[in-house]
Amino acid sequence: MTWDRSRGSSPNKEKASHALQENAGTDSDRLNRLAMRSSESISWFADITLSDRPAVGGKGGSLGELAHAGIAVPPGFVIRTTAFERFIAALEEDGPIRAGVAELEGHDLNGITALSENLRARLEQAPLPDSVHMEIVGAHTDFCGENNWPLAVRSSATTEDAEGRSFAGLQDTFLWVMGAQAVLNRVRSCWASLYSVPSIAYRRKHRIPENTVAMAVVVQRMVDARSAGVMFTRSPLTGDRSVVTLEATWGLGSALVSGEVTPDRFVISKITGEISVRHISDKHIQHVPGAGGGTREVDTPENLRRESSVSDQELAALKDIARKVERHYGQPQDIEWAIDRSGEILVLQSRPETVWAARDQTPVAKPTENPLLHVMNIFGGRR
């Protein structure tokens, strides 16, 4: 699993609405109005579905799809691939970009490294086309209003999270980005990260045609996570589809994913809500937002170390969200989530669970012409 996003502080905390409830009040009203104003380069989450992937990338498509399905995600917008294409088109006039990459062989690490350095420098330094610049600044103003919210700026490549191929983690994500100018810079950095050594090497190795590769960028509110974690809509140990297996820790989820903390672990029945496993671990440290951006590690207060990082009520709500997401996608999911300091549960990412999927194709039992033959499983000594 990847955890390529951190959670951070949302300074605007007037809402404590439950994850499954409609956000009420001015903030979401305003965001809903914004949803009507998607433009050539900008799509608001509520306007996006998975089918928009070619234009908004895997991550943007996934977040939009979740928002669309009524799952609470940290609000935001996507800078569509259109903007990237315009940016690249302007640059291509000064010298080839895609053609250069397409000529490389996947094993030619020296060639890839040299080209990567060259391309990234060009992308990082080039000015944005005026129209793109204005649309991004406009969206930022619309989104933040008077607030100087910390934002996450995340790469959302068009090939990322596509069926059977995972690009995840190869492109950059920037956290705790504040102000329009910083957002513009980070957007450019995201685009440039499409030409990082590992990204190029990956594409060449898998012979992905360069003209199908484009980069959208997600801009969304940081979540100041009180607790965060992951959940699977089945048991990773047994494949059981009737349970949600959930891991949680204090603060940002990065501490859990990086393995720096042994998370609390729960198994919850999807049907009965029964919590059959409840392992509360000693969570000695936690990740919190850093003062100047990024995250930092702090000691967990003594009285919280062995306390459950999620309440039973939150577990029940998370379980319901897991079921909703799974139902929406029609297959088992691997979900990243966070609970902000107001108690709101937000889904950060959801992707299909793939390990057990193959096993699902073999039935545990088949119907028999004489239903009584099933009892031979017990009486026939065939166990």
């Binding site: 047994t238 059981d240 029945s269 119907p367």
Partner: protein, 607 residues
């Protein structure tokens, strides 16, 4: 625990000593129940599920009758492919049992053919055969109810003489005694006629669920199959109804906690019409629904509600208080059935493949058809009939006591059924020839010795199992009825060296967490020690204790699976329950604070 110190087996039967000073009492049990040297070769386990306390010489009749019938059903009637019947032994009053597995593949194949002609016929014709069973069972009950009253008049009644009956009253002692015994043995054949097949269908569905949903709890599967309307719930339902009627009639004030049944009845009679009306309704409920024992019916001292109204009466004040507080005290059957339906649909939806769903439908349908028998038979067999049986033996006890054989009626249960027959013939002889009976010089001392032995045995713990541990336990009877699996045995073996003595594990029978004061109830007589909010800790949870579930906070038992009625009742009351811990009554001291986590099957001793 490391592999090197892990014990590989349980003590051998030959290493188990009869408690010194009780040898003669031990010798009273029939020769075929005594351990022999050859028994060291086999695996045995203590049947503390059915016989949690030392058994008196008469009470072992239940083991004889039950295993004769169970073995016959498995071995000769339905021809279970992989198992024959159950062997039984007794030492220090404790019944150990062992299964006879069939392991030869050719023999299994031969028996499978037979099984499918027999058991499948039962499954296919279940409803008709069950209806027939109920008729047979009711006829058997009527037979027991209409057995002649015992009497030894000084002179044979004149009308018998004039009618030319030709048979004197002493003969009928033997006749009635033998009929009483015969009826009990017959009842156990009826008892096992459907039982294994019923459990088997349940286990078939359970086995599927465990494969499809490896982490599903046993209690969830139990809830999907449970019928809810079995007769075994009726006694408790009647009590709830009576509580409501007491309020409606305005007589509830008399039904106070702590008052004796006699005082309550007297007070009701003094209340005039409403009191009499309530007592009439009580009489209707009593026949037959108060023919329920406060135990599982395997001990002569597990008296029925009809014989001792104190248990049902002690439950009434709680129901009355709840009803007055505005609670609906009736079992919400419709709601429970709707929940069951929803549960089945929800799990069905999670299945991935249509074929799987079709198999699931077939298995749950069979389980629903056959499982009500498993839930319902107990009322007729273990309760109603057993109650008639012990009370008839009690009549013999009273007659023999009257003639000086015993100091007390109950002493009759310290004789084996063979010895009782001997005492009856002794009395028949004395009545016929005018000599004094020989029994009064013989039995009182023996009875005292045996009573003392049983008291002594109860103080001694006994190993949960004896002999070498089998590689696999594939005997469906043992797995189905006693929940004994290889994993279970390993857990028992490991428990010998358990590091954390404050934690006790068992089956998660009913979800929820509760903390409270442990009330260790080792026998049913101690049940009145339970106070509101206590946690019941007992050898075996018993469905007939259902009414006390309204006042306890949680239940813990040594023995039992999540399909036990107690587990079902606990789930309905929403009480945490952990069953089958093996050792809770030994490890938990009365009065300790404990925490019961019924969802995980863990009991923690807090102090």
């Amino acid at each position: 625990m490391s592999a090197s110190v892990k014990p590989t087996g349980f003590p051998l039967p030959s290493s188990l000593q009869v408690v010194p000073g009780t040898e003669r009492a031990q010798a009273a049990y029939p020769y075929y129940m005594q351990f022999t040297k050859e028994d060291d070769e086999r695996f045995w386990f203590y049947n503390s599920m059915h016989f949690p306390e030392p058994m008196s010489p008469f009470d072992v009749t239940t083991a004889e009758a039950a295993y004769c019938a169970l073995g016959a059903a498995n071995t000769r009637v339905h021809c279970l492919p992989t198992t024959l019947g159950i062997d039984y032994r007794i030492i220090n009053g404790r019944i150990y049992i062992g299964g006879n597995a069939v392991t030869d593949a050719a023999e299994i194949a031969r028996r499978t053919k037979e099984f499918q002609q027999r058991a499948f016929y039962y499954y296919a014709n279940w409803e008709r055969l069950i209806a027939q069973w109920k008729d047979k069972m009711m006829a058997l009950i009527r037979e027991a109810q209409t057995l002649r009253k015992l009497a030894l008049p000084e002179f044979e009644p004149l009308e018998h003489v004039h009618a030319g009956r030709g048979i004197a009253s002493n003969h009928y002692l033997l006749d009635v005694y033998q009929k009483t015994l015969e009826g009990y043995f017959r009842m156990w054949h009826y008892h096992f006629e459907f039982l294994l097949l019923g459990y088997g269908a349940y286990m078939t569905f359970f086995d599927f669920c465990k494969k499809a949903f490896p982490e599903i709890s046993e209690q969830t599967v139990a809830r999907m199959v449970s019928g809810m309307q079995a007769e075994i719930f009726r006694p408790d339902d009647e009590l709830r109804k009576l509580a409501k009627r007491a309020i409606e009639l305005g007589v509830d004030g008399v039904l106070r906690e702590g008052a004796s049944p006699d005082d309550i009845i007297k007070a009701l009679e003094q209340l005039g019409e409403p009191g009499r009306t309530w007592l009439q309704e009580l009489a209707v409920s009593r026949d037959p629904w108060f023919n329920i024992n406060v135990g599982d019916g395997f001990y002569h001292y597990h008296r029925s509600w009809n014989d001792d109204l104190s248990l049902p009466f002690s439950a009434l004040p709680g129901y009355i208080a709840n009803a007055k507080a505005g609670e609906c005290i009736e079992r919400p059957i419709e709601k429970l059935m709707a929940e069951r339906k929803q549960l089945i649909e929800d799990y069905r939806e999670l299945l991935n493949i249509d074929e799987e769903r079709a198999a699931y439908d077939q298995m749950i349908a069979l389980a629903h058809r056959v499982f009500p028998y498993v839930e319902g038979h107990k009322f007729y067999c273990e309760h109603w009939y057993t109650n008639l049986f012990f009370n008839k033996i009690r009549e013999f006890g009273a007659l023999l006591a009257e003639h000086g054989f015993f100091q007390d009626t109950e002493d009759v249960f310290q004789l084996t059924h063979y010895e009782i027959e001997a005492a009856i013939i002794d009395l028949m002889t004395a009545w016929s020839n005018g000599s004094p009976p020989r029994g009064p010089a013989r039995w009182p001392a023996i009875v005292q010795e045996r009573k003392a032995a049983i008291k002594e045995w109860a103080e001694h713990e006994t190993p949960p199992a004896l002999g070498p541990v089998p590689e696999v336990i594939d005997d469906p009877a043992i797995v189905l009825l006693w929940g004994i699996t290889r994993e279970r045995l390993d857990a028992w073996l490991a428990a010998g060296g358990q590091a954390d003595a404050s934690e006790i594990r068992g089956f998660a029978a009913s979800s929820g967490v509760a903390e409270g004061v442990a009330r260790v109830v080792k026998s049913v007589e101690q049940i009145d020690r339970l106070r509101h909010g206590d946690i019941l800790v007992c050898r075996v949870t018993n469905p007939t204790w259902a009414p006390i579930f309204q006042k306890i906070a949680a239940a813990v038992s040594d023995i039992g699976g999540s399909m036990s009625h107690a587990a079902i009742v606990a789930r309905e009351y929403g009480l945490p329950a952990v069953v089958g811990t093996g050792t809770a009554t030994q490890k938990i001291k009365d009065g300790q604070r404990i925490r019961v986590d019924g969802g995980r099957g863990v009991v923690t001793i807090l102090q």
